[in-house]
């Protein structure tokens, strides 16, 4: 079935003289290039791009696409990534010309519908977060973290305080300490307890008036709600510090609890996760942030403002914000992602959002209850939207690693969970089924795990066996990097 010819590299398929487009003839009087562009600026040779007709481009990419596992075709319980169904209506609606063909510098009078949508989005995210002010500008969750920390830094500068530290649990995403570093903070790691929560003793030992922000992921990366979160927030606030909530796991708590209500001063959303993105093979995301009123003035500019006039509401971009940290990117934000997220939230409404969380948590707990006798879950028999199982026992008893299980799952047509994260769990398999999967799919996944753990270690070490490629040699890839195709070596 495989069309291996079509999946050669573009450059190998290229054939001189072929082309995939025809441009119109020039309909204005032409001036010679010599007159328009001084020779020192002009290209000396044609750009060495591939030369292909359109059918060949289609066949190439259509065949390549079949090498990908995706949500449309497979169960994809990739923990921490919230791989839920990507609604088709959202794609269609985000691609309406009146949404997708808007230039970022159009006069505001010509984009009132878009500004209303974005204003509504600000309002809805404020409500869902329990926080007052929202910026839709950050391009991804990591940039949301960075932006919020910049707001915090500006806030402390205004108070005349020089706080140097950011606290991050050891189970946190790597983006947290990385973001803190690029805002000039030193990161201190807070240990997790064996049960998977923030170690309160370690926190007490490290918390002082030099701490600007404690970045907490809640529910955390082992899939637990930090039951002490309010106490943690009170401790940090007492010393004048701020709480940042990494919103990666919002899917578990939509309409159940709100970061603002459990003490967060700032948070980001991951609309490509929580509000069904989609994920785009790695992106785009978006990273809107919500903050308390006192931090609102520091948010990036512009935000969307609404003026009530006798003729009805008029929406505009508000740049007049003297305390704002400025911009973190060009143009308004990842609007295409936000439009899809808007559609998602409007599709669900208040009850539907709560049901998202309920079913996500139900599915995760059901799956946990089915697999934990084979794959122990060190952090207990209950979870929120995801759980982290450990193959440590299997490894010591039979030599089967988390990686082996992950690779073998691919043979059975299921995407692997996230493996070896968080770093606090040995041989970690982080499973997030999401709410858009059935009991039957979860049962099938559990039964597949049972079957795999009964298979011979030798078979598993060599898995996957049925995928387009077997395990790649990552060592050579990193030792002798080949990062582009070159005519000489191929």
């Amino acid at each position: 079935m495989r069309n291996t010819r079509a999946t050669q590299l573009l450059f190998e398929l290229s054939h001189p003289g072929r082309r995939g487009s025809r441009l119109p003839a020039c309909d204005v009087p032409e001036t010679s290039l010599d007159e328009l562009i001084p020779e020192r600026h002009r290209a000396t040779a044609p750009t060495p791009l591939p030369e292909m007709p359109e059918p060949e481009i289609v066949r190439h990419y259509a065949n390549l696409s079949t090498f990908n596992m995706c949500i449309d075709t497979n169960f994809y319980p990739l923990g921490s990534c919230t791989m839920k169904y990507n609604s088709k209506r959202n794609e269609r609606l985000a691609n309406l010309p009146g949404m997708v063909d808007l230039h970022p510098y159009q006069p505001e009078s010509t984009i009132q519908g878009m500004l209303e949508l974005l204003h509504q989005m600000q309002q809805m995210l404020a409500e869902i977060s329990g926080l007052e002010a929202v910026s839709l500008q950050p391009a991804a969750g990591a940039q949301g973290e960075l932006t919020a920390l910049m707001c915090a830094a500006a806030y402390f500068r205004d108070l005349g305080e020089t706080r140097t530290k950011v606290l991050v649990p050891d189970s946190a995403h790597g983006t947290n300490p990385a973001s803190a570093n690029f805002v000039g903070f030193d990161t201190l790691e807070i240990k997790s307890t064996p049960a998977g929560y923030v170690d309160m003793n370690d926190l007490r030992a490290k918390l002082d008036e030099q701490v600007a922000v404690f970045m907490i992921t809640n529910p955390n990366t082992v899939g637990l709600f930090e039951t002490n979160v309010r106490e943690i927030a009170d401790m940090v606030h007492e010393l004048g510090g701020l709480i940042y909530c990494d919103g990666a796991n919002m899917n578990a708590i939509l309409g159940i609890t709100r970061p603002g209500d459990f003490g967060a001063d700032m948070m980001h959303f991951n609309p490509h996760k929580t509000f069904s993105g989609p994920h785009g093979g790695g992106g785009p995301g978006a990273g809107p942030i919500a903050v308390t009123g006192k931090l609102g003035p520091y948010l990036p500019s512009p935000v969307v403002a609404k003026d009530d006039t006798p003729e009805g509401p008029v929406y505009r971009l508000d740049f007049d914000r003297e305390k704002s940290i400025g911009r973190v990117r060009s143009f308004f934000g990842n609007v295409g992602v936000l439009v899809r997220a808007y559609c998602y939230i409007r599709t669900h409404g208040p009850d539907g959002l709560r049901q998202v969380a309920e079913n996500a948590v139900l599915n995760a707990n059901y799956l946990l209850s089915r697999v934990q006798h084979i794959l122990p879950v060190p952090q207990g028999d209950r979870c929120m939207h995801e759980f982290v199982a450990s193959a440590a026992q299997l490894k010591s008893e039979r030599g089967i690693t988390a990686m082996d299980i992950a690779k073998r799952l691919l043979d059975y047509g299921m995407h692997a969970p996230t493996v070896y994260f968080p770093l606090t769990v040995k041989e970690a398999l982080m499973v997030e089924p999401t709410e858009t999967e059935s009991k039957q799919t979860l049962d099938a996944f559990a039964e597949t795990l049972f079957r795999i753990t009964d298979e011979s270690p030798e078979l598993l070490h060599e898995a996957p066996h049925t995928t387009p490629i077997s395990r790649p040699d990552e060592v050579t890839a990193a030792r002798e990097p080949v990062l582009k195709w070159t005519a000489a070596e191929n």
Partner: protein
């Protein structure tokens, strides 16, 4: 709800298997005082028909740039997007997959990324490309952070007034946090003041950031800028326009150390500013300081050629606070669109698009500055964008007059440059016809002078 499977009966069975009595019990770990005791105050749920009507209603209150005639630019352009680009990007296998953590079931994405990296190197003449960053503005900031790490200089970063103001604002925001001085060289003549540049670049300077063609559409003296930067041991970072490389020298050919771009021109719709594509390419020796994901070629256990994410130790999930950047996601779907776009154009197509932009922009500039009211603001050669000055000092009036004719005339520069508040930035892509350009000229000509200022309320419903 259309996306859920669980019926009440399913739920009951699953709760029983878990060993709890109710859904509420699953949330028992959330202390009761922290639980929301009311439904979220968001609008009620809409079915697909209602949602469609709602979005159509919102969309109807926008005027797509494609419904009007658009001369808007400044970093986002109405270039034509071939249907084949939409087709490939709308395949679920691409847009509903994620980061290729399991290379065995992500060869489609990984190969596409490897091809993208190659295409960007071919386009720019640079050695290595990453898998993309967010957009032009943040790519500028990332290139500067990379320069700080490469040169181990944290004293000064030098940019130019002709670099996109929003890229510079982004840069300023990033550098404020790090306490690095940002010096902006004047471009009052429309391009970099080279003498001033030479004066401010010192041995503490990590890099010089230029844009070519610059924000005003004009060509910078890149050889001179590169020399000034390199003589001081600083890197030369250039923001380029991908389409311009159909006619202009490539960044790798004029000494750029890091080349970045807003890649929206390569097959991504304008969508009110994002998501776009941050392109970044660099010299090979800097690859281990690059931000973002990178795909590399290797072989599998059977010796078959394949692709993986590589050099991952640069990244935040491994190096954490010492990572080269905090970036995690890429703009994979838009990198894919750029690849399809560049493949569809090929060398000949790219040259033709570039030449059409060039010729039409110059025709438009000639016609507009032939009007009594307008004059060229700068004398430098331009590519697809140029600045005109309104002798009557009423740019808003010009914009309104054009809008009344269904034309987006351009971007008023007063927003960022108070001294250019009488100036308009006009962009002309390959899509604009002579007739449309003539319409713009007419709208800004006699009719603009006589049109009432209330024209804004013209019929755009």
């Amino acid at each position: 709800m259309a996306y859920f499977y669980n019926t009440p009966q399913d739920q009951a069975e699953m709760l029983k298997a878990i060993g709890v009595k109710s859904l509420e019990e699953l949330f028992a770990s959330i202390p009761a005082p922290l639980q929301l005791d009311r439904p979220l105050d968001v609008p009620p749920a809409l079915g697909e028909i209602e949602l469609t009507a709602h979005l159509q209603e919102l969309a109807a209150r926008n005027t797509p740039a494609t419904a009007n005639v658009s001369f808007l630019g400044g970093g986002s352009y109405d270039h034509f997007v071939p249907a084949v680009v939409d087709y490939v990007a709308s395949r679920g296998e691409f847009y509903t997959s994620y980061t290729p953590y399991q290379a065995e079931v992500a060869q489609g994405n990984l190969q596409a990324m490897f091809e993208y990296q190659t295409l960007i190197c071919q386009l720019t003449g640079m050695d290595v490309s990453n898998q993309s960053l967010y957009d032009g503005g943040s790519a500028t900031a990332e290139a500067v952070l990379m320069s700080l790490a490469v040169t181990r200089r944290e004293g000064r970063v030098v940019t130019i007034g002709s670099v996109h103001p929003e890229y510079r604002q982004t840069l300023k925001t990033y550098l404020t946090s790090l306490g690095v001085e940002l010096v902006t060289v004047e471009a009052s003549g429309g391009t970099c003041d080279l003498e001033q540049l030479a004066r401010v670049v010192n041995d503490e300077t990590a890099c010089v950031v230029a844009q070519h063609p610059n924000f005003f559409g004009a060509l910078e003296e890149t050889d001179e800028i590169a020399k000034i930067a390199h003589d001081a041991g600083a890197l030369f970072v250039v923001a380029f326009d991908p389409i311009s490389l159909g006619v202009l020298k490539r960044p790798g050919d004029y000494g750029a150390d890091i080349a970045i771009a807003e890649g929206q021109s390569l097959g991504t719709p304008m969508q009110y500013g994002g998501p776009y594509l941050g392109i970044m390419a660099a010299r090979e020796k800097f690859v281990r300081r690059m931000p973002g994901r990178i795909a590399g070629q290797t072989v599998d256990r059977r010796g078959k050629r394949c692709w993986v994410l590589t050099l991952q130790t640069r990244e935040q999930h491994i190096r954490r606070s010492k990572a080269t950047s905090n970036i995690c996601t890429n703009q994979g779907l838009f990198a894919l669109r750029a690849s399809v776009y560049l493949s569809a154009l090929g060398p000949q197509g790219l040259r033709e698009v570039a030449e059409l932009c060039l010729q039409k922009a110059h025709y438009a500039r000639g016609q507009l500055t032939g009007l009594e009211r307008l004059e060229p603001a700068f004398a430098s050669p331009v590519f697809k964008e140029f600045v005109v000055r309104d002798r009557q000092h009423d740019v808003d009036g010009l914009v309104r007059a054009a809008l009344a004719e269904g034309i987006f005339a351009g971007v008023p520069l007063g927003t960022w440059y108070p001294e250019l508040s009488d100036c308009l930035l006009v962009a002309v892509t390959e899509r604009r016809t002579r007739q449309e350009i003539d319409q713009l000229v007419a709208a800004l000509g006699d009719r603009a002078s006589s049109s009432p200022s209330s024209a804004e309320t013209a019929s755009y419903a």
